[in-house]
Each structure stands twice: as structure tokens, then as C-alpha cells.
């Protein structure tokens, strides 16, 4: 059944590794130059550092207030994920279990909204957000992520709920379980695979998002990591020594997150898109 490991496979293996090295070269540049002095970067950006300096990191850590930016990014991502998962899984389940015109039309409207570019709603959203007191507040931006997260997440849950067998739910209902009980105690645990996918996709999006936080979070204390990094670059243009240290700090958390969960992430992405 399995293919044999032939000479051809070996050649393919070498090709694969070579391409992988090319893929990783950008990281090589960022890492080695983030510990060099400014003049050393200018002399030769490709060479290894003669002496490893961590002072760039120390300075940047202070200037961009890294712990605060990290905390803001974290709290926004976590709260948004919880909300999106709760509201879209509940809605998707009920819509699948209540077939009919109304559910169908609603589903089509929500899913079609995926085509709306963010730029199309952002301008009025800022006005509405001002009126509803959502600007300059973490709960405010979290609520906005709820709204933007619903279409894709509901779509994924909707597809998955259809594969969940109905018999268990009916049995629980006969035993006197309420609808909420059925959903939270029986259905929701069964939805775990797709919940993992939904959380991964939303985490990558929300953690890395730049424009919505830029518009909504205007005070420095509320800055997320992308905002902190970009404002740092705007102030210290071409200060590559510190700039690269800032970039390393910016990308490290999400790369660590990915490396820890890479199996689930890759599986989740595949499941989310093939559905």
C-alpha cells in the first residue's frame, strides 16, 4: 500500500528541504539583524553578528510597552473568540434544526455578507460606533468582532451540525432535558472539531488585524501588538536595529502559539476549507 522510498523520493525530499530553506530565509534576516548594532546592519545584512546585543530588545520592550500591548491583544482575542463561538454555534444549531424558509433566507443573508469588504462598512461603522460608545474601548472592539466573526463561523458550524445525528438529541429531550440543556450538554461537545477550527481561524485573524484596532483603539494604552509595532516604525523610520527587534517581539507570540498547536491548526484549516 505505502509507496516505497525510492531514489526519486530522495530527490524530492532534497528539493523539498531546499525550498523550505528559501522559505525561511526572511526569518534568518530578521533574527540575526535584530541582535546587531545599527552600523553592523548597514555594513552587511546577510552576515552573522560579531557580537549578540540584546539591548535592542530591552529598549523596544520599554518604548512599545510590550507587556501592555500583548495583554490588550490577548484579552481582545480571547473575549472575541468566546463570544463568536457561543453565538454562532447556538444560532447555527437552531437554524439547522428548524428547517423552513425563514432559516434558509437568514442563512443566505448572513453567508453572503462574507463578500462585503471591510472598507465598505468601516466608515459608517465608525459613526455608529461613536453613537453606541464602542470607540476607544476594549468591550467595544470585541462587540465589533462578534459582528464580523458571525458569517464565517456560523457557516462552518452550520455545515458541521448537519452531520450530527439527531437521535441523541431526541432521546435527551424525551428524558426531559430543556433545549438549552440539549445544546450545551450534548450538542456543543460534539461540535468540538469545528469549534477548534473556528477558534483557530478567528485567532489568526483577530490577533493580526490592523485596520479595525487602528480605527477603534485610539489611545496608546489600548494599543494591540500590530498597532504598537506600526507606530514604532512610524517614529523610528529606518532605525533597523530597533525596528527588527520590535518585529521579533511582534511575531514571536503568534509563532509560538502556532508551533505548539501546529498539528491542530493545519488540520483545522484543512477541515474549515474543504467543508
Amino acid at each position: 500500500m505505502d509507496q516505497k522510498y525510492t531514489k526519486r523520493t530522495f530527490v524530492l525530499e532534497i528539493i523539498g528541504i531546499l525550498i523550505a530553506i528559501i522559505f525561511l530565509i526572511p526569518f534568518y534576516f530578521v533574527i540575526i539583524n535584530s541582535v546587531k548594532s545599527f552600523s553592523e546592519i548597514l555594513i552587511d545584512a546577510a552576515a552573522l553578528p560579531t557580537e549578540i546585543l540584546f539591548s535592542n530588545y530591552a529598549k523596544v520592550w520599554e518604548i512599545i510597552q510590550f507587556p501592555r500591548a500583548f495583554w490588550n491583544s490577548l484579552i481582545i482575542t480571547v473575549l472575541s473568540n468566546i463570544g463568536i463561538v457561543v453565538i454562532s454555534s447556538m444560532a447555527a444549531w437552531k437554524m439547522v434544526r428548524t428547517p423552513g424558509k425563514f432559516s434558509k433566507i437568514l442563512f443566505v443573508i448572513i453567508v453572503s455578507a462574507m463578500v462585503i469588504p471591510f472598507q465598505t462598512v468601516m466608515i459608517p461603522l465608525m459613526k455608529l460606533g461613536g453613537a453606541l460608545n464602542l470607540i476607544n474601548s476594549i468591550p467595544g472592539i470585541v462587540i465589533m468582532y462578534f459582528g464580523f466573526g458571525v458569517p464565517l463561523s456560523l457557516f462552518l458550524y452550520h455545515g458541521f451540525v448537519k452531520t450530527v445525528p439527531l437521535e441523541i438529541e431526541e432521546a435527551a429531550r424525551i428524558d426531559g432535558c430543556s433545549q438549552f440543556g440539549v445544546f450545551w450538554r450534548i450538542v456543543f461537545p460534539l461540535l468540538k472539531p469545528i469549534t477548534v477550527t473556528v477558534v483557530i481561524l478567528n485567532t489568526l485573524w483577530i490577533w493580526n488585524d490592523y485596520l479595525l484596532p487602528l480605527l477603534v483603539l485610539q489611545t496608546a494604552e489600548l494599543r494591540t501588538i500590530p498597532l504598537a509595532t506600526s507606530s514604532f516604525f512610524a517614529q523610528y523610520t529606518k532605525q533597523w536595529d530597533m525596528g527588527l527587534a520590535a518585529l521579533m517581539l511582534g511575531i514571536a507570540p503568534i509563532i509560538i502559539f502556532f508551533l505548539f498547536l501546529q498539528r491542530h491548526i493545519i488540520k483545522g484549516i484543512a477541515a474549515g476549507s474543504v467543508k
Binding site: M1, K4, Y5, T9, I15, G16, I17, F23, P26, F27, F29, L42, D44, A45, I87, S88, M90, A91, W93, K94, T98, P99, A113, V115, I116, P117, Q119, T120, V121, M122, I123, P124, L132, M144, G147, V150, K162, E170, I174, Q179, F180, F183, L204, N208, Y210, L211, L215, P226, F233, G243, I251, I254, F258, L259, I265, I266, I269, A270, S273, V274
Partner: protein
């Protein structure tokens, strides 16, 4: 799939089961059950619906209205100007027109290149390589970094990294003024986009390839099919749904490009790499022309909707044939 339960006949109506009062017999329990099912429906679907409508649909409708006004974002008096904004965009806005041309060209180049690389990598990793899992992880890493930070990283590589490599190797490719020239800046963005996205596409293609029956390929090989005919005549037709998804995703991502573009070239040199998304952002928040900005955003929406619908229909059609 659609023939599931009828929740109207909710099994949970044994409420007053044994001792129904006389005046309840008038069909009241039924009504009560109906009301109850509407209430539970609202309780489950309502929250998602409210957030979705408040954050997406209402602003979308407001946007249509603002696009007919000369609103500047600050004044409370919003003046209706009819089709003026649209007229102005279509007849007298070269920068917007150019940004559309750039975005369209970019989309074509980016979609073709990132899908070619993604599909190629998937074919490679579908072989029985020992380093398969590590390679997948490596190719996927660029995806977890946001476009903004990626743009900054590559700005450094184009400006300083390429220069050093050019000096080291003497290759003229690395000595080009990467972000300083209109043509190379265009290809620079394409390169970074492909670097970021092709790993994602690879994952989708791998998932599809795993569904292809191996015995089918072996039979074809015995019949004398070479690798090329194997890929074009058997594998690609079998996994067309994956192509539909990948093309849809890459078209949408390329068309809406913002962060990466902003931090890599900032739209320069001379606005030559300014995407539509950047143009709209600047019109609204830097020039304070919210009315004009929303009109542009509405046009943008229409174009994106047409492009993606057309693409999905085109590839779906071929799927059925295959």
C-alpha cells in the same frame, strides 16, 4: 439533509398533561407551543443576528445612503448630492482608477503564482517524504504572521537584505531597486503575497489530494500515463472543488489587500502600488471626504461581489462536468 424534525410538534408540551383546565381546550396549548418555539428560536438565533445586523448590515445600508451625500465625517448637517460622488469617481479620479488597475493586475498575478506554488508544494508533499510534517509546518508559518508585520519584514529584506546578497553573489536580480521602481515594487508585493499565502493553499490542496484514490493513479500509470498526463487528466479534474475554494480565497484576499501593501510600499512609488483599499482609507480618514469614500467603497463592494460570484460559478460549472 433538509428533512429533519418539525419543532412545532415540540415533545416538550406535557406541561399540563394530566389535568388540562377546561378553558385551555380551545387550542391554547398549541398556540402556547408555537409561541414557545418562536421564543426559543429567538433565544438561540437572536444574539448572533443582533450583532451581525448592528455591525455589518446597518453600516452597509448607512454606507449606501452616505455615498449620495457630501458628508465630511464631522459636520452634523449631511447634504444630499445625488449621484455627484459617483460621477466624480467615474469621470475625474485618475488615482482611484489607477488603484483599481493596480489591484486587478495584482490579483491576477498573485492568484496564479500563489496557487501554482501551493499546488506544486502539495504534490511534492503528497509523496512519501520523511520530512513531510516538518515541511508542511515550515511552508505554513508565514500565514500566522499578520500582513502588517510581514510588510515591514520584507521591506527590510528588499532594502538591505537583497543588497547584501547582491554584493555577495553578483546576481543582478538582487541589485534591482526593489521598492523604488514601479515594476519591481509591483512584483515585490506579488512575491511577499505568494510567500504568505501559498502555504495556506498547499494545506487545502493536500487535503484534497488525500481524497484521490491511489488505485486509480496506479491503473493509469500501468496504462502508460506519464506524470504530466496523470496530473492534468486525472488529479486536477478530481480535485476541482479544491481549486474553486483556493481561487475564491486568493481572489478575495488579493482584492482586499491593505496591511501588507501599506507597510511594504505604502502605495508608492508615486501611488503606483496603491490598492483600492488604501485609496478608500485615505479618501475617508485623511482627506476627510466620507461621502466620496463610501461611494468608492460601494463600487468596491460591487466589483468584489461580481468577481467572486463569477469565479465560483465558472469553476462550479466545470466541477459538474468532471
Amino acid at each position: 439533509m433538509e428533512t429533519k424534525i418539525e419543532p412545532k410538534v415540540d415533545p416538550v408540551v406535557p406541561n399540563t398533561s394530566g389535568r388540562t383546565k377546561l378553558h385551555d381546550v380551545k387550542g391554547d396549548p398549541r398556540r402556547k407551543a408555537k409561541l414557545k418555539s418562536i421564543l426559543t428560536y429567538t433565544a438561540f438565533v437572536g444574539p448572533a443576528l443582533i450583532f451581525f445586523f448592528v455591525i455589518q448590515i446597518i453600516p452597509f445600508l448607512m454606507g449606501i445612503y452616505y455615498s449620495f451625500t457630501s458628508w465630511n465625517g464631522v459636520s452634523s448637517a449631511i447634504e444630499w448630492v445625488g449621484l455627484d460622488n459617483y460621477k466624480r469617481i467615474f469621470t475625474n479620479d485618475e488615482v482611484f482608477f489607477n488603484s483599481f488597475m493596480f489591484t486587478t493586475k495584482f490579483m491576477f498575478a498573485a492568484v496564479i503564482i500563489s496557487n501554482l506554488i501551493g499546488f506544486g508544494l502539495a504534490l511534492l508533499l503528497n509523496a512519501a517524504l520523511k520530512t513531510k510534517n516538518i515541511l508542511r509546518t515550515v511552508f505554513f508559518i508565514p500565514n500566522v504572521i499578520g500582513g502588517l508585520l510581514l510588510g515591514f519584514i520584507w521591506q527590510f529584506i528588499f532594502v538591505r537584505g537583497f543588497a547584501s546578497v547582491g554584493e555577495l553573489t553578483g546576481l543582478s536580480f538582487f541589485k534591482l531597486p526593489w521598492l523604488g521602481d514601479e515594476t519591481t515594487a509591483f512584483w515585490g508585493i506579488v512575491i511577499v503575497f505568494a510567500w504568505q499565502i501559498s502555504g495556506y493553499m498547499m494545506i487545502i490542496y493536500i487535503a484534497a489530494l488525500q481524497g484521490v484514490d491511489n488505485s486509480l493513479l496506479e491503473a493509469a500509470r500501468i496504462d502508460g500515463a506519464n506524470n504530466f498526463t496523470l496530473i492534468t487528466k486525472i488529479i486536477i479534474p478530481l480535485i476541482l472543488p479544491a481549486f474553486t475554494i483556493c481561487f475564491f480565497l486568493t481572489i478575495a484576499m488579493a482584492f482586499k489587500i491593505f496591511d501588507l501593501n501599506l507597510s511594504l510600499t505604502g502605495g508608492g512609488p508615486f501611488n503606483s502600488t496603491q490598492s483600492v483599499a488604501i485609496n478608500i482609507y485615505q479618501e475617508a480618514f485623511q482627506n476627510n471626504r466620507y461621502g466620496l469614500g463610501t461611494a468608492k467603497a460601494i463600487i468596491f463592494f460591487v466589483v468584489v461581489a461580481i468577481f467572486t460570484t463569477f469565479q465560483v460559478m465558472a469553476t462550479k460549472k466545470r466541477e459538474v462536468e468532471a
